[in-house]
């Protein structure tokens, strides 16, 4: 049904734009395929990515395209399932013949599909999935990531935790690799920085299943545990439900340190509004007020003017990935896939988030990590971060040797 509607709306546009644009673009288009979650409970992430991507496509085309080629974007729905994501990627590569791939929200999806990307012989930039494995144990020549990954984000959390007086830490995170790995890395990093810190054993911490809407039993468990520090790696709707219920139950009564690794996501902050308690430490992959470079100001303004909201990290990811591809194609002198890959390795490009450099060894971008404390502000309808704390990429990124990547 959806496809029908989309086709009905898009077809006339395509015809009109072909007629109008044909003389202006003599070179063939460069095709970029985007794969995100476009349906189901997490479709907000795909929608954000699409907004960011479309903004980038229009800006780039208005400025002359990529190496003289007009950008043509294709969007596919991963539905958050690995088998569907693989089919979507294959369709883009073999049917639509895209030159480049951008996408992937879920870590589970990313980890499963990444080993199949070399067969498709098409480079992919991951912009959301944070699992260390895609630039670690399953890394390969064709896969890159420009977004902040789990170890980078959690290392920043551990550095914050080391500066607090909390002695015993527990966690609440989604019951899949992301939640468990967040806790493992946090424990690993904080133990080194603060040897007297205690960590509750695995059976005493809380890993609610993804589909949980009632977090009270878990909140109860945390409050009973006697821990005075809580690492929260829940995200999206889970995090919204958790924050509201934890607020009611009195978890944020000031007796505990609470660190939320993805608490500064705009979709969470907009839904919660002033129900988000102030003074909590929250992290994200991109915070729209974290730097006042011209690049960032232009992006935030263009995004706000077009969509009437502030860019989320996922919008920034898709937006930034297309500009990263543009920089690589220009460095490579064309859109040949293998040459673009060589150009991506070691590439430095300025994005709204700041300057990022893609490490040639494991293809992970070195990008600064933003954290901050939630605070109200008269000019914003949502909680913003004040103060903002920026962690330099070099301080929070494991060395290439530690990434586990053996290409």
């Amino acid at each position: 049904m959806r496809k029908g509607i989309i086709a009905a709306m898009v077809l006339p546009l395509v015809v009109i734009s072909l007629v109008l644009a044909a003389p202006a673009w003599s070179a063939p288009t460069v095709k970029v395929g985007f794969v995100y979650i476009m349906s189901g409970p997490f479709s907000a992430y795909g929608q954000f990515a699409k907004k960011g991507a479309e903004l980038a496509v229009d800006e780039i085309n208005a400025a002359g395209g990529i190496s003289g080629h007009k950008v043509e974007a294709f969007f596919e729905d991963s539905t958050g399932k690995p088998d569907v994501a693989i089919r979507a990627l294959r369709k883009l590569v073999f049917q639509e013949k895209v030159d480049f791939l951008i996408g992937l929200d879920s870590s589970g999806v990313a980890k499963t599909v990444v080993p199949s990307i070399p067969q498709m012989k098409t480079p992919l930039i991951i912009t959301h999935a944070a699992t260390p494995d895609v630039t670690g144990s399953v890394c390969n020549r064709y896969v890159f990531r420009i977004s902040v990954n789990l170890p980078q984000n959690v290392k920043a959390a551990a550095m914050l935790a080391a500066g607090t007086d909390a002695k015993t830490w527990t966690t609440i995170g989604p019951d899949y690799a992301f939640g468990h790995q967040s806790w493992e890395y946090f424990e690993k990093y904080l133990q080194v920085m603060k040897p007297d810190a205690n960590f509750l054993p695995k059976d005493a911490v809380a890993f609610p299943p993804f589909k949980t809407t009632d977090f009270n039993p878990y909140i109860n468990k945390i409050m009973q545990s006697g821990a005075d520090g809580v690492l929260v790696s829940l995200w999206g709707g889970n995090l919204i439900d958790f924050v509201r219920q934890a607020q009611e139950m009195g978890l944020f009564d000031g007796k505990r340190q609470v660190l939320m690794t993805l608490g500064a996501a705009t979709e969470v902050l907009s839904a919660l509004g002033d129900k988000m308690p102030e003074g909590l430490w929250v992290g994200t992959r991109y915070w729209f007020l974290a730097n006042d470079s011209q690049r960032n100001q232009d992006f935030v303004k263009a995004y706000f003017d077009r969509y009437g909201e502030y860019p989320s990290y996922n919008a920034h990811g898709a937006y930034g990935a297309l500009y990263t591809y543009k920089a690589a194609a220009e460095k490579a002198g064309g859109i040949d896939k293998e040459k673009v890959i060589d150009a991506l390795e070691g590439l430095t490009v300025e994005l709204p988030v700041g300057e990022i450099t893609i490490r040639p060894e494991d293809h992970q971008a070195l990008s600064d990590v933003s954290w901050g404390q939630t605070a109200g502000h008269a000019n914003y309808p949502i909680r913003i971060l004040n103060p903002v704390k920026i962690f330099k990429a070099g301080d929070v990124t494991p060395s290439p040797a530690d990434s586990g990547c053996r290409k």
Binding site: M1, R2, S39, G40, P41, F42, S43, A44, G46, Q47, D175, D203, F207, P208, P209, K211, T213, D214, N216, P217, Y218, N220, K221, M223, Q224, G236, G237, I240, D241, R244, Q245, E248, M249, G250, E267, V268, S270, A271, L272, G273, K275
Partner: protein, 286 residues
């Protein structure tokens, strides 16, 4: 002791929400013989419409009163225009049709309200917490614990003692005989389906202040409601009550004592019931 009480209340409040949803599902199945896959979408619509109406008339009570009624009207339309065509046919027609309705409604919600998250505030009178020894507990959750059985009891009294209730039960037992004694069965089916959708939507509106709204939010609750209905016995009122209560309590205490093994609890319960009592706690052999 306090922790035990809090776990108990958690289990009860979740269980009562499940009970309301399962009640609609089991009633529609019991009377119409339709296994309604779209029930979770009506739950979702109830929550979204409650939110929407609160934007127009800023009170939770107007949202919870008007929202589910609008969904029930949609239920009337769906029954008249779509479901009516498949009553006599193979069960696969019903499953496909209600599944199609689910897909359409889920997409409609995404188109109308966007894919993002929304929250609904509980009314001021229910928004605080009360003290339980050294701990606090949200008043709204207690409200859920009370509201569920009240609605259930009202419905049970209606079915058991009112004239309409008797007619509906008669039609459920033997459709042809009911038609033979002059009961307008098609009209009755419309009323029952509307009641079922109202129950789902009412559950959604009740759940709205307690969980965030997002497209497909009915997915989880529909799976657990199916488990409740099967465990309790298809079409059985007390069965839905017992099933929802047991599942709610298992989940609440399971979280504390079983850790992540708790995820398997509903399914183990389902398998055990099917093995020992294939017709559920209160189901009769057919």
């Amino acid at each position: 002791m306090e922790s035990f009480l809090i776990n108990l209340l958690n289990g009860l409040s979740w269980g009562m929400l499940l009970f309301l949803i399962s009640l609609g599902l089991t009633t529609v199945f019991g009377v119409l013989g339709i296994l309604n896959f779209a029930h979770g979408s009506f739950f979702m619509l109830g929550a979204y419409l409650c939110m929407q109406i609160m934007h127009i008339m800023p009170s939770f009570w107007s949202g919870i009163l008007v929202g589910p009624l609008v969904v029930a009207l949609l239920g009337v339309l769906i029954e008249r225009v779509l479901l009516r065509k498949v009553y006599g046919r193979d069960i696969s027609f019903q499953l496909l049709l209600t599944f199609a309705i689910l897909l359409v409604l889920d997409d409609a919600v995404r188109i109308i309200w966007g894919p993002g998250y929304h929250v609904v505030e509980p009314p001021a009178i229910l928004s605080g917490v009360f003290t339980l020894g050294t701990r606090t507990y949200p008043v709204y959750r207690l409200f859920l614990v009370i509201a569920g059985p009240l609605v259930g009891l009202a419905l049970w009294l209606f079915f058991q003692f009112s004239r309409w209730g008797r007619i509906i039960r008669a039609a459920a037992m033997d459709r042809e005989m009911a038609e033979g004694v002059g009961i307008r069965v098609p009209m009755l089916f419309t009323v029952v389906f509307a009641l079922g959708t109202w129950l789902a939507a009412f559950g959604g509106a009740l759940a709205a202040p307690h969980q965030s709204l997002a497209p497909s939010m009915g997915e989880r609750i529909i799976i657990e409601s199916f488990i409740v209905v099967v465990c309790g016995g298809m079409g059985s009122f007390p069965g839905a009550f017992a099933g929802a209560l047991i599942l709610g309590l298992f989940e609440s205490f399971g979280t504390v004592f079983l850790g992540s093994a708790q995820m398997a609890v509903p399914y183990i319960l389902l398998a055990a019931v099917l093995l020992v009592r294939p017709y559920g706690f209160f189901g009769r052999e057919v």
